[in-house]
Symmetry: D3
Subunit: 247 residues, 6 copies
């Protein structure tokens, strides 16, 4: 990518530059699809579990189901956090991100083509350095694609030439740091960002989710437009990396 | 408002027309601020509880704290839902909306001016017909303003001429229904919307939150722009209604 | 009513005088029956949800089921209370009152005539000033009656001329305050009452529940008799108000 | 007692006859007071735990605190019930009875004389055959008396001649079975009773709690009076048995 | 038994001497098998509940199921512990012991001979003075044997001459106290033991469970051998006591 | 090691042969010590979190605290398991293993030398193929050693030449499979094992924990001795591998 350096980011990147992205497929032996995805130091293990059948409320519909669960290991972060299993309940942030990942993946899956099967995406953050939800979506798509291929091989889809995946999906964070819109914030940038936005795009460049939050000062329409530009470009890059990984 | 009817909505409104909005202050006798806000049939009771002191993690900071809790009565909806207190845990949606309301209000409060005091906004949906979270934010701001005035009267703010409220905040939903961008969706529209977006704006027209989700088909940049235009205009109208209520 | 003032109550009422009672039917649009009942400042929203079918343990019995859930909004009271949904469990008081309301309503319902249908009464206290459980029972009966009529209109009862309601039911609190038996205690009286009693009566004047508790000094048989007289008379008045509301 | 047989009860007792009552003190080695109380086959282990200090909300008040927890072993009953610890929450009935026992004991304790100390009464039902809550109150009083004497011996009360116990307290159930008021119902009677009432009295014959419930047909004032007579007489008998046990 | 005193234990026993063991059958009226087992002051109530049918996952297997739940009354111990039902969750120790008891009993039951029936063993510690889990296993076996005989009498086993019990099972604790291996530790010994081991043996002297833990200093093979010798001999003695109780 | 093949194991190993063991230090960037330990396909991430201070109950004792939490990712296993955080409670097995790891590590730590500091070991199973608890202990020791060195470097231990680690600790499973004692069972062997034992040894060859369970047939003393021999030898090998990793 062309890098237009208009300032100095904490890790020396250009404002529109992604961190080093690594997508390692088949990191696990048991899962039908599994990816260790890395956005710099952020490391998320995405496991796709394919099972025949659907939840009760969907039985007989002819449609499959895709859902996701996100979680963070206690020492993924700088200081250890309490385990949600020990606390006995899931926090609001965890719930929110699990729902976001599930919605993002469902945006590109044709549940009729999937047949009455379920795919659960477990996205466990092994190490966190900002952007865990966007890394999770980006990696989960690849694991999902592998699980779909697994099912095709086992002739478990709706038909032999079923195409459950209508498109790919990727996600990236953008934000206003030190007054400048930047792409793919690391943790240190994230905590100082005035505005924080997560963009989820399909492979053809349309939006699935746009979630922008003013952490401090509200943002105006121009700033919003800059962030959307930056995010859309970042997702396009990630789409290419997903394609390369799956090639 | 000028209404440009470009189609027929389920309740006969123009695409850019809000439902009937009612803001009833002092609906409760005990709370320091309380508002029954109505967006058509959606009815949310917003109670602001002012207490001196802040949570432990904020003690000695010189700053106050504002937070919110959202909930829905079991029979707010068409069919009765289970109580979260009976289920023993709060669902992801409830968590997510509570967090959104809290963030939105904190965007316009100067916690230093508030002094070491806490204001909790309880937003309980008595009846739901779409747009409960945006109604909650819009009503909660008015209850918050009343609670701040209460505190000023009791000389509990940082100083006699403290101005904890930097601006007002209002919210509205927009979405693409039947292929057309429309404002302030009722429940029947919400379930058929292709894209659903919540916009939270300050009184001066800047954005605090933008949350857009493609329920079915992903949306492109043009559609996104239309929705942002519509939402910003809707928030501006709501701002006037808040001002009138507080006058 | 004739008021025999034998002292001065905190709000100027005679010892045997009820507070202002308001029963507003159809306060909600969705519920099969709904009542906003007010005993002075105490305000309880009672929603009756009618659904066909019964819980599993009652299937095939030919009998319906009526149950109730009571809860209080966090800021119903003078100082904000924690939400039971956030705490993750329902307190003993809530459980106890929910059970009381359910038993009181079942005392006047003929579950065979109801057919295999379920009616759930949600009694949510919007504002509390003493006597919330008795207001809830009094209002819930009216909502229940409306839900039964709804079901009759839809031909969902056991038969066209089924009479599921054998009688009406109403409730009131009585107590010994400042040494004198008084009717329908407000919160300020309740906290100083030596003995506190809740009386639930059918429309024909018989008792469904009698729950008396010595908060401080134990009470003797004469005091008990005075309280029963006062409560029975209060319930008779409430019965007339229920009839008027349903007329 | 003189038995006036006006019918035949399931276990051959007269209508006003208690079951065999046994009060075994010091059933445990560790507790400051402990009683195994038996009302026929109903067997409740009451342990009084004395600890110096009071809960935080009572610190510095100069007053002590007495509370109770009631529970039932899973196989106390005819068919095994699930453990509340395994279910992860306490049922409404358990809460309700725990609160009743606590209130009943606090009615006879002078918390100032107790000094800033806490006594917890654990009432665990080892076998249930009706009347477990009344047996628990009756036994718990004796365990409480022993714990108070323990504290006196250790000079832990407010003063050397402190008298924390103002009176004794006992409880019994009464009900209308087969149309006749009877005393101290066993389980088989309890399930068929038209009205069920629990009476808690002090040693001097006054009432602490009166809780009557119409299970089927509502009851009139005459029936209520009969039940109160029967219950008061039963409590008086139990008071003598408590005195004998403590002698 | 021959006692070889090689030191002085806190309660005067020889190193290889059990405490006074009492096994009281039929302590409860309702349970299909029930035992109050006492190891000195340790007192555990073991109730066996026989029910026809098996958990869902075992249906149609032709095999029965035996499981156990262990719990401790709050005042079983020297200082009162919190109730797990009140805390809303079961602690790790409780879980661990329940699982141990269940495994130990399943080691001697032939689930095919049992037929599709379930036996639940509730082991509730009424008083604790060390060795509660080993007392529970020893007593639960006797209750289990009674429940099996109950089922045989009702012709509920697989066949008339079914033998679900392949052998008996008993358990005892051993440990290194003051440098010497000793049998059946009481609480005072348990807290000072360097190594603590629980041995579960069948009636024919083989091992079902061996669980040894170095509380302080790790133990060597010789010490381990001494403890195994001591535990095996203790179990043999307990086996005889079980046989006597069942005779 | 010399391998004496006396049969054919499922993966071709000799009976006394460990799987391929890999110990990768510093797998995480944030934790004070971190190890990815692999026993064949079993993969456990062990993170040691060092924090100054101790839990409240240990304050002022001059002693530190070491504890552990074990958990399994949902798709660590062949078929996906439910998340304990979603279920809202930790299962008995998880509790049991967490406690075992904590006890094992505390056996080799001198908490006085550690000073009033806490080290938490998080052992998260990324992939499970039998022996997860023994791999966790073996890896956690290495992470613990690194965390201690970290603290030494920061001068946070009791003194400059403090030696909190008295010895190393390692663990391995042994079992009787197909009638033959074998070392370090993989999952396929584990499910068919007649007896299953976990051995935890210090670096000097003494025992910290011995936990043997007869899954089917009880085991005799000879079998027990064979398993102890095999386990002790396996731990000695693992000790050398730990030393090599830390060198």
């Amino acid at each position: 990518m062309s890098t237009t350096t208009t300032g100095v980011r904490v890790d020396g990147r250009a404002d529109n530059q992604l961190r080093d992205i690594k997508i390692t497929r088949n990191w696990l032996d048991h899962a039908e699809g599994s990816v260790l995805v890395e956005f710099g130091k952020t490391r998320v293990l995405c496991a796709a579990s394919f099972t025949e059948g659907v939840p009760r409320w969907r039985k007989g519909s002819g449609q499959g189901w895709v859902t996701a669960e996100y979680a963070m290991l206690p020492r993924a972060t700088n200081t250890r956090g309490d385990r949600e299993s020990v606390k006995g309940k899931i926090g609001g942030r965890t719930h929110e991100i699990s729902r976001l990942i599930g919605r993002s993946l469902r945006a590109v899956i044709d549940t009729r083509e999937l047949g009455e099967n379920t795919i659960v995406l477990d996205c466990d953050v092994l190490q966190a350095d900002g952007g865990t939800r966007t890394a999770a979506i980006t990696g989960a798509y690849v694991a999902l694609a592998d699980a779909v291929e697994f099912a095709r091989g086992k002739r478990l889809l709706r038909s032999g030439n079923a195409k459950p995946l209508r498109d790919s999906v990727a996600a990236v964070s953008v934000g206003i740091v030190g007054g400048r819109p930047v792409l793919d914030l690391c943790y240190e940038e994230d905590v100082t960002a005035g505005t924080d936005m997560n963009i989820v795009c399909t492979g053809d460049g349309r939006f699935v989710e746009v979630q922008g939050t003013a952490e401090g000062t509200p943002f105006d329409r121009d700033e919003l437009n800059s962030l959307l530009d930056l995010g859309a470009a970042g997702c396009a890059e990630l789409t290419l990396l997903q394609q390369a990984a799956l090639a």
